[in-house]
Point group: C2
Chain length 103, copies 2
Amino acid sequence: MVSLPNEGHVAELADLFRLLGDSTRLRIVLACLDAPVAVGDIAVGLQLSNSLVSHHLRLLRAARIVKAERQGKQVFYAAADQHISRVLADMLEHIAEPHPRPD
Amino acid sequence: MVSLPNEGHVAELADLFRLLGDSTRLRIVLACLDAPVAVGDIAVGLQLSNSLVSHHLRLLRAARIVKAERQGKQVFYAAADQHISRVLADMLEHIAEPHPRPD
DNA sequence: ATAACATGTGAACACTTGTTCATCTGTTCA
DNA sequence: TGAACAGATGAACAAGTGTTCACATGTTAT
């Protein structure tokens, strides 16, 4: 049951979903879902350029999907809160849902 | 706790989020979240052209975010399953979450 | 059959956006 | 101070996408 969000919240909601709506960016979020990871390590792990990862992380951080914490030369990123994990888990369940007959 | 989705699932996940990532399309989803609504009624309710609503509904239906049911001349659309509502609810909670300090 | 209504669809446009490259800021250690 | 490392950022381009317009499809009635 979702109490209908007002106009402003709809735009904010859409912005969040749009950020998760790119495969590269989504993989970055998934990479730092369980524990903080440094930018460079994300880049290596996903085989992306540091620049690209950094660009995406900036957007994700601005939307508070991830949070950053500096440790020396490195900056570690992690999922901002539990809700992000839940959103992902719910959407995975949606995918897992058997699609019977239509359309 | 999210068991890491494989490559194919990441793309599928991203596609779903991308569809919810447009304000117009998101409003359409919200409009038929609780009960089936006809295309024309959605258009009137949101002040959009029938054509635009239809275009969006096609994408949403292809991704099984909404399901369609014909009744005479009209076609009623409704959210496909509970997971969609949950995803939206979780993301709303994320927005409601107080953002304490950083940046 | 025809008309009227509801929805679907293809093409075309403007606009947005992901990616790369080059450069810059900031931090640590010598 | 300088060099070396980690990350951030702006510009520019290709590719993708939301919207409109005109027209097609399908359904119910006369």
